[in-house]
Symmetry: C2
Subunit: 685 residues, 2 copies
């Protein structure tokens, strides 16, 4: 037998669904040598996951790839609840807001998984200069063995994970195209335009071959039946339970006289429960309780389930309204179950993300979102570790931070599913009212969680805070990671909550009066941020404080690592034509003041730390912003919304994923806390 | 000598700059057989036209191609005026708004012509289904002869224009790449990413060949030195005058301590005048008066002008502020002159558009805009004439409508340029103040014209109005075209001005509560529109009126022509997956009511004319909108902004280019006027 070909890579990603693609996108932006393999012959073209929660859209936007989702997706703005009246006829019992207003510039939206996979692939391509070959998904490739050289696990130069990959023939790969546990998809002919290339390009008639890859890190994003998880051993098995409830799912273009067909709607009829998710392209997704199919304490007999059975159930629940369809895009069925694992990583060398470590029911639109957010949490940590900017032990924060989310998700989903399935509505109005009221209340209190905005990470070197006193957010596994020695002052910025995502409000660019979402000036490019809310710098004392901090930053920041950025570093202003030679610091500084804009002269009044000079490009006019008036829009009052005093301001420290890690004053003490925070992250030996 | 190969085409477009590409885009969207040829080897990559006025952005948005301009362009929000103080030192004398707030959702923006040419090309490609070859620009092709068979000019089935085309070798075509009258461009190395393909793909080493094309229509969009214009004969020559003033233009990345470098700025220093246009990619464009170069009553000696001379003038005008640069992207120089022609068309078979019929100075950022708007006016008329939907005499409205704009432009430019060049600032503050004040006033009063929103078309069959009583908008050449027999009632919709573009405000979709810019529901797809402002349809009397109109429309509209639309018919919601078999009417109907949204049930309360049924796709939920409250944004008060009574409403008739052609009541008389308007357009024999 001949030796297999061998190669090295920094990161090997197994699985090219949303979790794997998010990771690949991060690593592309950071310029980390990566491969991503997938067993499927092509990306998904219809059906599957479809709900985009607002935090996911913010994250996609931080890479500049949310625009197309936001344009093509259907937005779900209001939610409607229907229950039987005293005669057993369904009627609308309530209609209310679906996403908490003011929480984000986005609202919950729906678009099928294939489109977002395409946008990820385009976003990865945009990370590379035109003279380099971009990272591409290697399809029809499966891992067949995985080993970790435990002795080399803590050597930052080592490639201790060895994986054997098998490149399948098309015949071998085709069965894996069966995407769900059931036969799925009955109409597939109308592919979106830019999907076609993916199908045509896939290689034909190639021969199977094996190769060995030695990686610094391997991440299994390979779904509920994760090969990677199995390869890591028994202690990685997921645990949880299944209920007997069976649900059908159909994506159809409905022909119906039901009035709320374009709203997210929950119907609880005597014939069963149903949820309407209105989608793009005149379609709706229906989640339909299948009362006549039962798992009977075990796994359901799949042969019982056909689209006809599912649709007849839907018609009964819609009654007396009519429901027909001509086009069906996709259908499937599932048994509700919730499972998660105890371990998200082995030796901080092999990681699991997404469905590989948590599975649950799809109705709350969480799956793809939590999965993408897992690898969004992991990507910059692995990337900066590969570049020797972050010490390896920071990688432990991945499991700490994301296991808590997975457990919250499982708990939430169990409660939500039971509530939905388990409360058969009564046929007397008064009794229905109660049950319906409970359901609505549960729905609304869950919105902070389901939007993804409620995520609250624990105290570590990355988040300088005390353990959260609120028992609801407390962890059930002990947090033994090293804490930051910096001390935050949360009261200085009451809506920039430590451990939570920094919100976005509009601020005015000092140099040209253009309004910007502050998020658009904080793209995902691997850099930590100091957002210096400088307060009213038209007041000399305050201006002196801000400039003293600027002077200190000018001497301190050069002691921290630098980061080589790739071309797509300003995803919200198009392409970068002229390049600076300077290698940017790992810490980016942005100033947002509250003084009247016309009383500030950028070059004269503000320290150069806030408008750095480049010998070829001149001063940077894109780092100083104001909270005030323009000719074109009502004032945003950003200071008020961030919960910051407009006189004295505050400094907010952000991790590369936009989570708040430090809140500290503008003055001398602030500089000390900033130094402690960054030294605690970068300078440990 | 062998016979030349011959072929037929509906429309031949000569020139693939913004005017030609706009025309090609229109014709692609309408499914009209078109060819477009250009003498250049590739599209423009830097420099040239760069200013986007708000009306142009609205037009691009109506094809779904404004998003990328809006993202990549620099927005000019405020304008700054600098003059010498009593010591002769320049100081800021005023800073004010650059685009009238509330006029449009867009503001004036700057992006180089090469990008917009790329977006046009992408927009044309998106007009075709994936299994068809899209219209492509045929480069390195020039016309060498043009003849019109005058006897066949009025035969709607004829192809009376014969053009011989020469396909150049690369050697022949290369000199035409010299884009301006002077050597231009000294740095061209940093092309934007998606520009590269255009260069690589151009054919190499091909042989010259000739062919004969027989076209229904030919449009010359071939610039100031238009071959087409010359081919049409002496009476098409442009007339006008040149001044002695010479201006230099440079696109640089400035290194300067001048405080307003990122604002649009007019500097009038004792050393001369200069205008700053801040642009994308950290660049600014400087328009610099060259006092030491003079045309001396004739044409300037071009060899005098170098980038060094231009830049030294700029430095003197900037003094005492410093100005340096490392990167220069492009430069040129020009002599101010204004010219236009008397005829825009020959026999309504050959047309001229853009610089081919009007040239002027570039400083007001009008050139590309007026050019694109010329062919935006012409495209749907030619397209619908080719499809035998519009009678040929409607084509006469092109010259009537656009010649007036060209004359206004020339007059405006003469005044604006003279004002800018001719008023040397005094070195005494009080005297400067006066001259500066005059300048600022002229600048601001010109904004309605320069934004393109002030355009006001004359009474014809397309615009049912009386001749405008305002002498400022009156025409100097007599308008002899047939008038509509319909009678508008302007007072019913005071801000939907007859002959002007219909403005856009946000309305709420009845079916799902989503806010939409009303423009986004009126894309450029060749259809006329009736926007039925139905008023308060929660009131039975008003609802009955609206539904009676709906019933009448259901019987009247089927008598009008239908229009086959291409796939990209909803550019603001992504791709269309499921298709209706119905062939849509030339008239699209949209209902905007002012009743509380929750008091209206779309299917129950509103006539099916406003939510047409399709046997495969069910009811259309995208045609009824409301002006009221949502959970997410402050009320827009669209009725108030459109100047329409929220009780009784109004019907506004729109041409396919979005200009208001009819304003009439919702009731019985409205139906009569609608019938007169459309019959006058479509049913003449």
């Amino acid at each position: 037998m001949t030796e297999l070909p061998e190669s090295k890579v920094d990161v090997l990603v197994i699985g090219a669904g949303p979790a794997g693609l998010m990771l690949a996108l991060w690593l592309s932006r950071l310029g980390v040598k990566t491969r991503i393999v997938d067993k499927r012959t092509a990306k998904v073209y219809s059906g599957q996951a479809d709900g985009f929660q607002v935090r996911s859209l913010e994250i996609l936007d931080s890479f500049g790839i949310a625009e197309r989702v936001w344009k093509e997706a259907n937005r779900m703005l209001e939610v409607s609840f229907w229950n039987p009246d005293e005669n057993g006829i369904i009627q609308r019992s309530a209609k209310s807001v679906n996403t908490i207003p003011g929480l984000s510039r986005f609202t919950e939206s729906v678009l099928h998984q294939g489109r977002i996979e395409q946008f990820f692939i385009d976003g990865i391509r945009a990370s590379y200069p035109s003279n380099e070959t971009p990272l591409q998904v290697e399809r029809m490739v499966i891992p067949t063995s995985l080993e970790i050289d435990e002795a080399a696990a803590e050597d930052s130069e080592a490639h201790p994970v060895t994986v054997t990959l098998r490149h399948l023939t098309e015949e071998e790969a085709t069965p894996t195209q069966m995407l769900s546990n059931l036969n799925d998809g009955i109409f597939r002919s109308n592919l979106a335009e830019d999907d076609v290339a993916g199908i045509l390009d896939r290689s034909k008639g190639r021969e199977a071959r094996d190769e060995v890859v030695r990686a610094k890190y391997v991440v299994g994003c390979d779904g509920a039946h994760s090969w990677t998880r199995k390869a890591l051993g028994k202690e990685f098995e997921m645990k949880g339970e299944s209920t007997d409830a069976i649900w059908g799912v159909m994506d159809i273009v409905p022909i119906t006289d039901f009035p709320d067909i374009r709203f997210r709607t929950m119907i609880q009829n005597t014939a069963g429960a149903l949820m309407i998710i209105p989608r793009e392209n005149r379609m709706v997704r229906l989640y339909i309780q299948l009362k006549e199919v039962s798992a009977g304490g075990g796994r359901v007999d799949r042969s019982q389930i056909t689209p006809e059975i599912i649709f007849k159930s839907a018609q009964r629940i819609f009654s007396p309204y009519k429901l027909e369809y001509h086009y069906c895009d996709w259908w499937t069925a599932y048994q509700i179950g919730q499972r998660t694992g105890d371990h998200f990583s082995k030796l901080n060398r092999v990681f699991l993300a997404g469905d590989a470590v948590h599975t649950h029911s799809p109705k709350a639109g969480q799956g793809m979102n939590i999965s993408m957010q897992d690898s969004y949490n992991l990507g910059w940590k692995i990337g900066l570790a590969c570049k020797n900017i972050l010490p390896r032990d920071v990688l432990s924060t991945y499991e700490l931070e994301r296991k808590k989310i997975a457990k919250d998700l499982i708990a939430f989903d169990g409660k939500f599913s039971k509530l939905f399935t388990g409360a058969p509505p009564k046929d007397i109005q008064s009794e229905t009212g109660v049950s319906d009221d409970v359901f609505q209340k549960a729905f609304h209190t869950s919105r902070m969680f389901t939007t993804g905005v409620g995520v609250n990470y624990q105290p570590t070197v990355l988040v300088a805070k005390e353990a959260d006193p609120d028992p609801e957010t407390e962890d059930d596994s002990p947090n033994t990671l090293t804490k930051s020695t910096a001390k935050s002052t949360q009261s200085l910025a009451t809506n920039c909550k430590l451990g939570q995502r920094f919100p976005s409000y509009k601020v005015i660019r000092q140099s040209d009066a253009r309004l910007w979402e502050l998020h658009h000036k904080l793209p995902s490019n691997g850099r930590f941020r100091l957002v210096v809310f400088g307060g009213d710098i038209s007041q000399p004392t305050q201006r002196d404080s801000v400039n003293a901090l600027g002077a200190w930053l000018s001497s301190y920041l050069p002691k921290l690592p630098t980061i080589g950025l790739c071309p797509a570093s300003d995803p919200h202003s198009g392409q970068i034509k002229f390049k600076t030679d300077a290698d940017p610091s790992i810490v980016d500084v942005v100033l947002v003041h509250s003084a009247p804009r016309d009383e500030v002269d950028l070059l004269r009044d503000v320290h150069e730390a806030y408008h750095p000079f480049d010998s070829k490009l001149g001063w940077d006019y894109d780092k100083v912003f104001s909270d005030g008036k323009t000719f074109y829009e009502e004032p945003e009052r950003a200071y008020e919304k961030y919960g910051i005093d407009s006189g004295k301001g505050a400094v907010v420290g952000l991790r590369p994923d936009g989570y708040v890690g430090l809140v500290t004053p503008v003055g001398h003490d602030g500089a000390e806390q900033i130094q402690r925070w960054f030294d605690g992250i970068f300078q440990r030996s």
